[in-house]
Amino acid sequence: MRIAYYPGCVAQESGKELDLATRWVCRTLGIDLVEFPNFSCCGSGFVDEANEVLNVAINARNLAIAERSSLDVLTICSTCQGMLTLANRRLKDPTVKARVDGALKPLGIDYRGTVTVKHLLRVLTEDIGLPAIRAKVRRPLNGLKVGAFYGCHLLRPADEMLWDSGEEPHSFEDLLAVLGATPVYYRGRVMCCGFPIQFVKSETAAAISGRQILEAKSHGAHAMATPCPLCHISLDAYQNQAEKAVRQPLDMPVFHLPQVVGLALGATPEELGLARHLVPVDDALAKIRPAVA
């Protein structure tokens, strides 16, 4: 399949390992990523807080770029997924559409609302399909217990995201099972990582992410895996603060979604950028039988 690749800001900078792993997985599965150097940031939810219509307009421009090439959009970040979908929804309101068109039409941009925005998790589970993925597994992740962490904007508001079951999603766990891993269910898997208030009140953000990590741990997870690089920052890069908040060591490695897929499909840790993580993943890799070199 051919699809417009919308990596988002973090995957292009400090979250580079996510981009690396995504490209590896897509190459292996025959997903042709079409790149557009004129995609802008989705606003990450922060621009939406400051100016709702501006945020819709910025993302309408992004969607129009893909629409011009008759492509749907692939996201690899729950927040980008949420923001682009939000733009599609808000544009159904005639008042919003009029204001957005007022800013875009003078630039020759005319977004007609035909683009579907799909997160990699959805493309893998629906477009590629679990049987096709299972057929390509070279290194089943047997022995590895993984707690999925979806990220709020992939799922909610459920009546707007309209994919998987907003209440009790299972696509990620189903995928993990096909990869040979043991999915770990815990309440926090659909809750928040705290990232949006990391820069407002870090102790509270840390308490929130700490709660999720601790819960995954107490349910037996060796690692967590997330489809959102912002959650990844919160859970991995800021795990040291989470440990302070919950007053105990956590030692919980956190994978990006395509890294855990890539591992099962036969990629090396180097090809997936695993050394870039703040929390070392070695102990988790050691759980996989046979061991990863």
């Binding site: 606003g43 630039l107 508001p157």
Partner: protein
Amino acid sequence: MPEPTVAVPFEVYRYDPGRDAKPRYQRYTLDLTPHTPVLTALLRIRAEVDPTLTLRYSCRSAICGSCSMQINSKSRLACETHVGPELERHGRIVVEPMRNQAVLRDLVVDQTPFWRHYSEVEPYLKLDPAHPMPEGKPTSMTPAQVDRFLETPRCIACAACYSACPAVEADAGFPGPMALAKLYRFAVDPRDTAHQDRLLRIQPNGLWLCLRCHLCTDACPKNVRPSERIRDLKEMAIAVQGATEQGSRHAVGFKESIRRAGVLNEMQLTRRTYGLFGLLGQLRQGFRIMRKKPEVIRRPHPIEGVEEVEKIYEALDTGPEARR
């Protein structure tokens, strides 16, 4: 012909703090039609099996807000949750008290902090003696002005949102979604003369702690959509006061970062949010991350077509805090 029934297994949280050492889950099984509400089932348990099971309930028609509880881990109204779909999805019905509120007994929780947050947003019309209401007549309000309340008048104070909120769980200073949605209701009421003051006061008092995770909007049985109203409050607050709180500085700083380059400049944003002093406090964490991820301090290239972004901002970013 009576409808077919199925055996429905319940596991109900039981805890009487004055008498029990710790909580336990008690099992009951009832034969019920699939569209029986969980509340009806719980009341049957009380009437036929166990009169000690304790819960709040009254109207059974989703208007009084009494019967909110966790059913299969979701905070919602028991009178509106039917056993059939729950049984299909989970094979059983686990009933627990709401979260974020201390248990008084079984499914009854202490809502004192919830009510206190509500009263702290001063949920009543604030009038200006210089502009009194019309004597002996209702104030005039157009349907468009009524529409601005959106769904906030439908709130029944059931606290399902408060129960579902991770920020409430983590921080006692967060007013919670219901109180903030109430604040929105007053901030758009044309009869209230304290809109600006309300927006000024809520900012250091928790507005920016909202995670915009939308768990509240999903939990709300009345479609009040508190997380979306909180977003509205944030935009309104910036319009009134500019970027004076850490939260608003971050949002506005992010917005400016995109304007300049089309993508995020993490370093610049961090400086804008924290200020120079605050930045010093972030240095250690910054170094730690930089060692593994040096890109974090890189200044990104502007995207192709960044001038389009600039023009969009010119057209739509016209608030008082917009920077040129």
